[in-house]
């Protein structure tokens, strides 16, 4: 080859060209597929909310969402109301599910900002469920999910997901054996004070028979993810407490 690749000028030229080409390529790919990706994310959100409500196509051990093609209609059918809550004041808003929890949380750091909290009310088998989105930190990255409560503040279903927890360890928070443990757990203690749900190690209740202990069995090898999940539930469920207490019969 005739090019002298050791020359400084060549190096700078090459670096500049490379950055331009790769940058343009990435920008092109990203903007080209943006629409599909946003659409996929919306579908995923609706699927997750319905999953927490117990509307899914699970068999014994799998996690199966309602299929993409019908999720829009199923969402309209089961989620009868969507609220945006500020304090104890709830306003109906059919697009509440589009609120970006991450952005709201960041904006709420400013004390003068009044945080908008989305709440989804689902009707299934003549019972009413209140589905709350939660978001927190795992070991490596964000974790989030949806918790479905009845009016006595007992968990009726959950869905958890994560961006980058360790495969085989922390990533198991989205497995059935973990999520199913939350069903029936109380978030209040015996004295009706808020306690959240602890992800506990060695609570001598691996089958999770005791539903009022505010504890579920932790995943071995995923302590930090588990602690992060418990902290997330505590932090975000608490925000809804003023409103949820007005429901309690």
């Amino acid at each position: 080859m005739a090019i002298n690749t050791d020359k400084n000028s060549y190096t700078v030229l090459f670096a500049t060209a490379m950055v331009l080409i790769v940058g343009a390529l990435l920008a092109f790919v990203s903007s080209n597929f943006k629409e599909q990706i946003t659409e996929n994310k919306r579908i995923e959100k609706q699927q997750n909310i319905l999953y927490a409500l117990g509307v899914n196509e699970n068999d014994e051990t799998s996690v199966e969402f309602v299929s993409k093609s019908i999720v829009g209609e199923e969402f309209k059918k089961y989620i009868t109301k969507q609220y945006v809550i500020t304090g104890t004041n709830a306003v109906e808003n059919p697009n509440a599910y589009l609120i970006d929890i991450k952005k709201e949380e960041a904006a709420a750091k400013n004390p003068s900002y009044e945080r908008k909290l989305p709440l989804f009310v689902g009707e299934k088998d003549n019972a009413t469920f209140y589905i709350i989105p939660v978001r927190g930190k795992g070991l490596w990255d964000a974790i989030w999910g949806y918790v479905s409560l009845d009016e006595n503040l007992v968990v009726q279903g959950v869905f958890f997901d994560h961006a980058g927890e360790t495969p085989g360890l922390g990533s198991n928070i989205k497995e059935r054996f973990f999520m199913d443990d939350f069903k029936g757990e109380h978030i209040l203690d015996g004295n009706n004070t808020f306690k959240g749900i602890e992800v506990a190690k060695g609570n001598a209740d691996p089958k999770n028979n005791d539903k009022t202990d505010n504890e579920v069995d932790a995943i071995a090898g995923a302590t930090i993810t588990g602690n992060g999940l418990a902290a997330m539930l505590k932090k975000d469920l608490q925000l809804y407490l003023p409103y949820l207490k007005t429901l309690k019969k």
Partner: protein, 214 residues
């Protein structure tokens, strides 16, 4: 192999045994320790690395005569990062569920030293076709070890394989658990991956004494 010359075939078969990237070259240890707690993750990671390393090797090999040697590591890093991100975006648009499974691995692939190691050691000095074969061979060698480690860690740590309970139910006390067997939770932690890897290296070297360095 009729399709490949003897020399080319060795590019694929060597990394599977006597020149294995993990057990002999000690590359890609980090991901081998991190994600082998279950078999499925090991297999997914192996396949992902296969694609990235094969294609990356070809790209670097094509560019090998014009890459300035002073910034070659950065160039390699950009090539692999761009490749992985583009694949990730396309998967997000067309195979969203698959991309969710793979997104965890994206960071691990970019920083996998096997990829940088093969770019640096092979693709920069060889033609595209041989680099492609080298990529396939090394990622297969990497994948084999990952699957072996993942197999033992999942079996002994969780009593399952690919999520199926092969040893019975530890809570209901069926299968081998009825006889007092317990899962070894320690197998799920990274130190046991290192020990499992050590045992593989030991077995391999005692079978082939030529591998032992003085």
């Amino acid at each position: 192999m009729g399709l490949l010359s003897k020399k080319d075939a060795k590019l694929i078969t060597d990394p599977l045994a006597d020149n294995n990237p993990i057990t002999i070259q000690v590359l890609g240890i980090c991901s081998a320790l991190a994600i082998t707690a279950d078999l499925k993750a090991s297999i997914v990671m192996a396949i992902a690395v296969l694609f990235v390393l094969a294609i990356g090797n070809v790209v670097i090999s094509l560019l090998r005569n014009i890459i300035p040697s002073k910034i070659r590591i950065i160039v390699q890093l950009i090539v692999v990062a761009a490749l992985v991100i583009i694949v990730d975006i396309i998967l997000k648009a067309f195979a969203y569920e698959l991309s969710k499974t793979l997104s965890v691995f994206v960071g691990l692939i970019i920083t996998n030293c096997i990829i940088m190691g093969r770019f640096e050691a092979f693709a920069l000095a060889n033609g595209p076709w041989r680099s492609f074969l080298d990529g396939i061979g090394n990622s297969l060698g990497y994948g084999v070890i990952l699957v072996i480690v993942g197999f033992f860690r999942e079996l002994l740590g969780s009593g399952t394989l690919l999520g199926i309970k092969v040893l019975g139910d530890p809570i209901e006390k069926t299968g081998v658990y009825a006889y007092g067997y317990e899962n070894n939770g320690f197998m799920l932690l990274a130190p046991m991956a290192l020990i499992t890897l050590g045992i593989i290296i030991w077995v391999q070297r005692s079978r082939n004494k030529a591998l032992i360095e003085n």
